[in-house]
């Protein structure tokens, strides 16, 4: 069934680059903007989205019971208390992986698209069955990566697979950016990564200790509307998804002091 629901896969290839954190923060940010959003934990093996959203104690049913038709969709959906526009579809038991097929994933996403404006799918790491199931149900994708060789290489592989599956648009989020390291050329720059991967940049997220604090509490940074660097980055990404034009600020090109200008001069590519 065709709806206008935006079904967005959040994937990376490599684990630990920030897929789940991005899914949780984008979900909350979109809900705060008044759009009805569902986040689907497609990582059945190692589910964590519930924990980052602080909803781990409120799960009764999961995607498994919905697919087995032992419960209704709305019985399994966990509505966020502070942001009722956001609901979580929890991942089922890891044993589900034995029988789960792309068409099952498609079925559950179809059900969600009847009720929601946005469905964000938190993809498992890797490019095996879990990824293939999730990609089959997705229309568009956000590839998350870090400015590190292994993360960029894995992202490249995932982008290739997304292209073959006809998923588009595919946009890039560069996570855990350290402006100081970029300025001293000890980290791949934003331009380096976008040039190599040849993807439009949806946004970048500055490395921020507050992310750890927020995951400790189970309250995504965008929930409190705080003003930490990462919180602002996440809400900007949500607003760009909604079509707002918010300029991308390259942190390594900021600063008007003599030192900053000298550092920028040193970054000039000669050949």
């Amino acid at each position: 069934m065709e709806t206008n629901t935006r079904i967005i896969l959040i994937c990376s290839g490599k684990g630990g680059v920030g897929k789940t954190t991005l899914t949780a923060n984008l979900g909350i940010a979109l809900a705060r903007q008044g759009v009805c959003t569902a986040v689907l934990d497609a990582d059945f093996g190692l589910r964590n989205l519930d924990l980052l959203l602080g909803l781990e104690n409120r799960i009764v049913y999961t995607a498994q019971e919905v697919l087995e038709e032992t419960c209704r969709l709305d019985q399994a959906l966990v509505k966020h208390k502070q942001e009722p526009n956001l609901s979580l579809m929890p991942a089922g038991n890891p044993r589900m992986l034995d029988w789960l097929k792309p068409k099952d994933m498609q079925r559950i996403v179809d059900m969600l698209s009847e009720k929601f404006d946005y469905v964000l799918i938190d993809c498992p790491a890797g490019v095996e069955d879990g990824f293939r199931n999730a990609v089959a149900a997705s229309k568009e994708a956000i590839v998350v990566t870090n400015p590190e060789v292994s993360a960029v290489r894995d992202a490249d592989r995932v982008i290739g697979l997304l292209n073959t599956h006809g998923v588009k648009p595919v946009q890039l989020v560069l996570n855990r950016v350290r402006p100081k390291m970029i300025a001293s050329q000890e980290m791949l720059s934003v331009d380096d990564v976008t040039d190599i991967l040849a993807l439009p940049l949806l946004g970048l997220v500055i490395e921020d200790e507050q992310v750890i604090v927020s995951t400790n509490r189970g309250e995504p940074l965008t929930l409190t509307g705080g003003n930490s660097p990462a919180a602002r980055c996440y809400s900007n990404i949500a607003r760009r998804l909604q079509g707002e034009e918010i300029p991308l600020i390259d942190p390594s090109k900021q600063g008007s002091g003599v030192r900053d200008k000298l550092k920028r001069l040193m970054q000039t590519k000669i050949f």
Partner: protein, 98 residues
């Protein structure tokens, strides 16, 4: 290579690690993307040359077949200088006969 890399080089110091990362990634990705071993590429090159050689006389020494990657598109680029055509049309034959 950035300005800093050049100054570092003059001073005999190591390149910045971001430069090294960039170069290593570009190499590894070119290989990842085409998923073709050098042996297979060479075999393909020889077979392509054989086919082309049936129709035109080519300069084998000058001929080159390579993979080039740009903007996520990998292209097979063949550069085969043609010496002369081997296939003569019937009208050509008529002309030479007369």
């Amino acid at each position: 290579m950035t300005l800093r890399d050049i100054i570092f080089k003059l001073l005999g110091r190591q390149k910045t690690s971001a430069s090294t990362a960039r170069e290593r990634l570009q190499l590894v990705l070119a290989h990842d993307r085409c998923d073709l071993s050098p042996e297979l590429l060479d075999q393909m090159r020889r077979e392509i040359l054989d086919v082309v050689a049936k129709y035109v006389e080519i300069d084998i020494e000058e001929g080159a077949v390579s993979l080039e990657t740009e903007d996520r598109m990998t292209a097979l680029v063949a550069n085969l200088p043609i010496k002369r055509s081997l296939v003569t049309t019937s009208s050509d034959n008529d002309e030479t006969a007369s």
